[in-house]
Amino acid sequence: MKYVDEYRDPLGGQRLLAEIRRCPPAGGLRIMEICGGHTHAIYRSGLDQLLPEGIRFLHGPGCPVCVTPAVRIDQAIALAHRPGCLVATYGDMLRVPGSVESLRTAQARGAKVQIVYSSLDAVEIARSRPELEVVFLAVGFETTAPANAAAILHAQEGGLPNFSVLGSHVLVPPVLRHLLLSPGTEIDAFIGPGHVATVVGSEDYAFLPEEFGKPVVISGFEPHDLLLAVLMLLRQRAEGRCAVEVEYRRAVQPKGSERALAVMGEVFEVQDQEWRGIGVIPRSGLGIRRRFAAFDALARYRGELPEAAEDAGEYVCGAVLQGHRTPLECPAFGIGCIPEHPYGPGMVSQEGACAALYRYRQPGPGQGVAQ
């Protein structure tokens, strides 16, 4: 596939690794990759095992499925049981544990749940099934929020009174500020989220070097992209620089996508947001603007929905999501908590640090993973 295969060629990877070995970082380098897509790619390619000693990846909170609060799952389940209602959502959301059960187990008990590939598929269900109230459980970072916003605009244009969105939209910069201001955070540099940046632009990350003195390289998702991003961070360190740089130049512009930002801003406004395993972070999410309240499931079904949930028994999920602990430090990892039966959110999505590690990695020497 063009723009994929050439970034996976083994010889290119060897050149990059040789170049990386020529720039060893004094004192080591702890790099947080923010995006769950990067976490998945790193484990899939085994990049963490190929890098010289001293360069470590820390996995960040960039998996929107993982950080969706349990109460949102409970609300979706309540709506899926409501007579005449159908909940449509992205496939990853079905296994996310709510406070009692997941959408998948609710579905087995008769709740009406349907997986969609695109938000527009959910709109299409509402158009073709006017007798149903279709609720689209929509999650995402800045990458996905414009697509979810566009679904609301399509429903409005189509005059669909039976479509609404139950949203959990999160923003990357506020959670990074939260992490960097938290005690115990030890991050030297960041690999920035390539697809979030295609929407918001690389300039959205200028605060990392300017306010926190942390370099960031925004990267693509293939092995060469990630190795080149590591090399660019090493060169910044060697040359005494600290800046935002873009490795993923084929897709990322300084100001992002004007059109996607306009669609997102038309439908959503910034609000305080709960992050599963972390807590409420001020102004870290997106809510539906009041003028689209007819399409906001939280407004439409107010009074019928559960309002709070306890994230019980989630072991060290929050610490793993924030890069403070590794999945291997969790007593449940791979024992009771597995992708087929996740206890916590990091094991649900293939972009969760726990699920990616479980899928691709045999335990190394001294790593006590139960099999």
């Binding site: 596939m1 063009k2 723009y3 994929v4 050439e6 010889l11 290119g12 990877g13 060897q14 050149r15 990059l16 690794l17 040789a18 170049e19 070995r21 995006c35 769950g36 897509g37 190929l50 960039g62 998996c63 929107p64 499925v65 992205y90 990853d92 590939y117 695109s118 938000s119 527009l120 598929d121 999650v139 995402g140 970072f141 990458t143 996905t144 414009p146 697509a147 566009a150 605009l153 989220p193 697809h195 979030v196 295609t198 929407v199 998702f221 060469h224 080149l228 490795e247 130049r249 084929r250 897709a251 990322v252 512009q253 996508s257 004007e258 059109r259 996607a260 669609v263 999505s349 972009e351």
Partner: protein
Amino acid sequence: MCLAVPGKVLEIGEDNMAVVDIAGVRRRVCLDLVEGIAPEDYVLVHVGFALQRIDADEAQRTMDQLLQMAPPERAADQP
């Protein structure tokens, strides 16, 4: 979740929906979030929407940068 894959735009319909070839599979992709896309362009596709046009010149520059690096000299340098 933020997965996006490259695909080639084959044709664009009047409803701003394109037919995009993604690894040999034809999919309908919405162009509402991008501007100025034409057939033959490569776009990044995410949840049924084109997110951004892929810039062929920048992609080539990245590959050139890679090719300028010296290949590993000795077997010991190789992973």
